[in-house]
Symmetry: D2
């Protein structure tokens, strides 16, 4: 193929779409799905990908209800409720759906999941390069002192490019030599919010900092890698990026034996060895396979798949308690939306509706369901590993098989 | 919904699929795609997810041709060739396709990408728990000395559960207290291989180690978190998991100015600040947004989306050279397949064919294209950030907008 | 030797000291130094260690003067002044003193060091283990809301075990499953303060939290590894432990050529390769050899040598500027004292006096001198590496040699 | 003080020493110790530092006897023997000696320590900067294939600057863009060896690589931060730097109760919370306070105090076993010497002799004693934390007090 790279049509009108399909010799299934609903989703639209979806459940949950308290933006619990949820999983990995289902059963028979939202923040980390450390430090001190004024200034701007949904909460600076990174921390409602906060941070940088600071930075960079966007980092493993959620369950001896076909002590010993294995291999997370469940829910529900890695940062823990095993997972950076982006598109919307998570006011519910589904798979996969010699895990993969 | 979790039908015969759809009240689009081709992909199949696909390009590349040298399993370059490749991207992020396209153009006008496969290994890390450190050390020494014998033993087994495609290459042990982790390192041909190596490692553990070692471990765990499966870790950021690939380009001053609308010095300064930002936030990777490109190619081509995070581990570097900027990215753990799993399914197969990457003998080509596409987006996204005040980045996201 | 471990005398009266010396057959030099001044420094005192001390300098510095602003405990700069300082270095490494001296000379000829204190905090991280995540979260919320009350309560206690020098500043919680770590953050005046804050944290835990919280933790642990004591961690690489100090210098082309015998571009290229080398090897710090200078100053001045690793966490950066190279180092966790502990002992006190750093109100000065000395050695050692083929580094170690 | 920095005398003849002492106004104790034995230890010698030394013990140990097997350089165990060792600790921290002693007693009453040397390697990581990734990869492949030839070449060189004690064992490359880091891995006998391997690596770089490689690197850097020298890194936390040693003990219920005044379950729960605390704070190590013991032994015995941080990298683990708690610590990078450097100096030599560790053939013994002493303190300090509410830890610090 020798098409000139500059001439590749970019628009999504029917002729351009067709021109691309023909140039590439594409026909049949990949061009057979109606593309019209997707034309605003991306440039150079040409066809479709289809991923099969299983539905697994129900997950028996006790979820928290939360609101963002103003003006500080703390996540406050206003109630708790029980629910049963069926979870859509888009993937092609034989055994995954059955395993997650098994974990959900074991928890259901043990009293259900309990989930909690601990925090809600997302960060855009700009960097101002100054002429010296002295100036970078002076700038940092000034920025830290201007947060209230910046918040007020943003509120009174009439700039249509600004998002009113992205609200500035805190600012953190971290001077390294002449660099002054500024971590703008936001809440973004039911959207994940990277673009919202990008627009607002840009206006803050150019309209406020560069205009008003006595120190004039040599250069303003909108994002210089401290913002945690799609890249796991300790900064956000610790402090959170998106929704920080905790899911917990107390597995009963009976459910472990009957459903998971292993023993409490075997699970506890696996947790011990697996935690030390994580440390020995330089993992930041301690978990078994959180990305598996998260990717499957994300793909079904129109989430940003580039955020699978960051949303899968996880800190799991297990402890023997009387007649059971208390297991939990802390997911500090679940980056999910129930409005905007891919969530508005046909298939994704329907799967979100199945979860009761489509639209406004649903994002904390959704984040908690993601956490519970993740823990369900952690439990079942760990149980497979924990059996003596892991015979059962072997059989599960060997006999069931799937496509691999 | 109050369906009993134990009664949820698991099979994928038409009646079971229909029963699930009806129980959940699903109809219309999500159940409208023919599911029959997907029935072996996962349990409890119920519907489909659709992600729009753009096609971007061409990427102008100089790729290496590689073969695995026996018996050691080193990746040996047998030739190099130029190619032009159009890349399918499944995602819903406004601006992504246009940006990756812009990066590809800048590189095309600068002489193209050069890509290299450095290594090919994937690891299953079992753990044997012994009664003491002394026994764990003795076991580790014994295992290290048995590798040739184990390889021969595996070859002569007549066990149909064993994969002949997964070949044991090296073994590494890492004793911590009474734990003896054993990192079985494999090549798995054109498949990613987690299930293949799981089966083989299991047989090794149970049929060889537990049978023949003079030290009898108290417990054998098939995987205890040192294997790097779907979890980023320093172990594999360093030594590789899947294909270790390097992509490089030397951006010309002219292309940077005309296509990327920035300057060489601006890009160099951004690279400097971004590298230090990565360090300051405790990122293991140094890169701007590799997961974005990788997730989009993975979703189009039937790869395992749970591997987006690990496959996006990245070490980018940039250096001013005469009249240009030399940029590169090292992706130590690209986990891709051109056979098996999701790659065999209708839509995915077609997108792989577009890339010339469907089927046997294509995996090194595919891994290199993934790396080049990733670098294309790195370049364009960095360029947007590198402009003074990042004004252009702002405009790009603000005016184009998309669904967000 | 077959002495019963339970009978080894522990006291430091002359007879006990002598009994130990005789039991061990020690005489001559190791027992020849007058031990009486050291009898309160540790149990089972038996002899002495002597480390030779060089004095190197002067370091030409512009230092900040700081005070802790009440009630928040921010470090506020109240002035800046120039000074020339000779630095004592206790060590036995041939070349170290000459190299640090050379770095100091290069900086002196380039206009001197500029140093800044950014922050001052030290942390004791207790952990309350609760019966469930729900209780851990409830406890965390409660603790966060009680900080002002706790501060007032501490102030009014009449408990002689409490330290009035250790002042509680902020509290951070970090729930993981049923664990509720509470990071008590303190300022401790001119002392490092681990024991002070230990005593105060203990009283807070037992007298306030365990008494007043509605949630009754199952267990209170005074420190469970989140406190950063003598163990490098990202938490404190980022947020600081002890004094967070930045030192900077702008090396002139002339000084680099004449004193360091290398070139600006060579230094810049080394900084680039060294930064990427740090990333590739999974270092948290980016620096060349900060622990060398820090250990030598610590050993001379009676600091806690167990804190060499944490105090050496470092983030260095270098940038070409017009006619020079701007170099800086951020040392987030310098743990130094000018009062208490080893600083009160004969030799240490005298070396602190030489620095003008003995006694009250000197700790910020001392921390800045440590940072400048560290940067001096970084510069000189880097220069040796930066020369073409590093020929000079080789010669420096080979010809000078010393004891190795 | 306004002495010209260029005129500061550097030599260690009596007149120069005296000139420095007088210029600085130093007299009395710091200049009162006979400096003559130290004149070859460092430049600009001016005085001395004295640190009090306690002697604690005996540690009851079962140590391994090891030899380096040629030609591969594996550490092979040739026997095991029991010994009782008194350990000198140079420090000024009240409570440390008593606590380490208590830990030693608890272990002695539980059957003693068992220690093992797992590996012995030290690395100098040079970096060759090439014109492109292609050249860096070609160079890497060539270097990897030349190791046997390089070893032979080194052996036949008649260069007096080369060390015959530093033996090249393996070579590892790690290409990032145009950079080709080469990790030269050595054994260095009973010395730590940084200078030895520096000299040999330099000769290899300049005399072999730069002369013979078909790819001519643009630049050769002797060390570019992948070598692990005095900077903790995951690379060496994993693979080892210096001696990789494991120490283990099985605490009996009785010793835990009577000597440590806590309970097995309390210790186990502390280990669990402390492990998760380490993870939550981004520690690479899992341990309580290894640097404390290591710094104290290093200061007494003339070790390099700049290596306290790296030598303290640690991975501890604890497990309930029948009637006891099995505790262990893996110290991957103990950098100790029994010959050369500071170990030859008066006081240090004597303390090494007390340990039976002075001179040739003693380094593995010494490394094991360091590990056992470290574990002794870990046990006692953990026990203090593990008691309900950590009341005892509080008392230990509060009542005993010392200088703080």
């Amino acid at each position: 193929m020798t098409m000139d790279v500059r001439k590749w049509p970019r628009k999504n009108d029917p002729d351009s779409v067709r021109a691309r399909q023909e140039a590439l010799g594409l026909d049949g299934e990949v061009t057979g799905i109606e593309l019209e609903p997707f034309t605003r989703a991306q440039e150079m639209l040409t066809g479709a990908a289809v991923i099969p979806v299983s539905v697994v459940g129900p997950l028996e949950l006790e979820l928290g209800e939360y609101e963002l308290r103003e003006p500080g933006g703390e996540v406050a619990e206003t109630g708790r409720a029980r629910d049963s949820v069926f979870v859509p999983l888009a993937h092609t990995e034989g055994g995954l759906s059955a395993s997650l289902h098994r974990g959900a059963r074991a928890v259901a028979e043990s009293g259900g999941f309990r989930t909690y939202v601990l925090a809600d923040r997302i960060t855009r980390a700009s960097c101002f390069i100054c002429s010296s450390a002295a100036e970078a430090i002076e700038l940092a001190r000034w920025v830290e002192g201007e947060v209230d004024a910046m918040r007020a200034w943003l509120a009174e701007q009439d700039d249509p490019s600004l998002s009113k949904h992205a609200r500035l909460r805190e600012v953190k600076t971290h001077v390294v030599g002449p660099m002054c990174p500024v971590l703008w921390q936001w809440t973004t409602g039911d959207a994940v919010g990277p673009n919202m906060m990008t627009r607002n941070a840009y206006v803050l940088n150019m309209g406020y900092v560069m205009e008003r600071a006595q120190v004039k930075p040599q250069r303003s960079i909108l994002e210089a890698n401290m913002g945690g966007d799609k890249k796991p980092s300790f900064e956000y493993f610790q402090s959170g990026h998106g929704k920080t959620v905790l899911a917990e369950a107390t597995l009963s001896e009976d459910a472990v034996r009957r459903v998971l076909r292993t023993k409490l002590d075997d699970l506890a010993e696996l947790a011990w060895a697996g935690t030390h294995g994580a440390i020995a291999s330089g993992m930041q997370s301690v978990a078994f396979t959180p990305a598996t469940a998260i990717a499957a829910v994300f793909a079904a529900t129109g989430q940003d798949l580039g955020m699978v890695g960051t949303s899968s940062m996880a800190h799991g823990a297990a402890r023997r308690v009387e007649n059971g095993l208390q297991v939990s997972i802390r997911l500090p950076g679940i980056e999910v939306a129930t409005i905007g982006g891919g969530t508005t598109l046909p298939f994704a919307r329907r799967w979100l509706e199945l979860l009761g998570c489509a639209g406004d006011g649903k994002v904390y519910r959704f984040a908690q369901i993601v956490a519970a589904a993740t823990l369900a798979l952690e439990i079942s996969a760990s149980a497979a590993m924990a059996t003596a010699g892991s015979a059962e895990f072997f059989r599960a993969h060997h006999e069931r098989g799937g496509l691999r």
